[in-house]
Amino acid sequence: MAQLRQDYQQFVKLDTEIVVAGPEKAEAFRDYWAKERLPFIGLPDPEHHVLKLYGQEVKLFKLGRLPAQMLIDKSGYVRFVHYGHSMSDIPPNQEIIDLIAMNM
């Protein structure tokens, strides 16, 4: 998340918004956003509506969810999708930034 904050302006310059969804409640989001000074949109999804819709995988026995990232372009099409295989399996922001820049 710190990395996303650091790269946020690059996304903004490319007409791109970042939306972070997670299973925590609004209060937990609000506290975390304030503490980390995050500039992007945070969507609490404690009932897992979007998490399920987008197929985020839950590792029951590891007590957590696996990270996933998607890029959706202005026409609503998925242009990048990455479902993590482990907690630390997150693609570098630069990969997504390059992809957006290439398609503009």
Binding site: G22, Y54, G76, V78
Partner: protein, 43 residues
């Protein structure tokens, strides 16, 4: 579990952000690209 496929139309969603403001994927159509990040949890 179903997953989102590359080069297909992304399923729309609407949720309230942590301040209670409604946010839909469709709000960004024609205006902005959106990076959707599913976090593993902050804590």
């Amino acid at each position: 579990m179903s997953r989102v496929e590359l080069n297909t139309s992304a399923p729309n969603f609407t949720l309230n952000d942590f301040n209670g403001k409604s946010v839909s994927l469709a709000d960004f159509a024609g205006k902005k690209n959106v990076v959707v990040v599913f976090n593993r949890g902050f804590f």
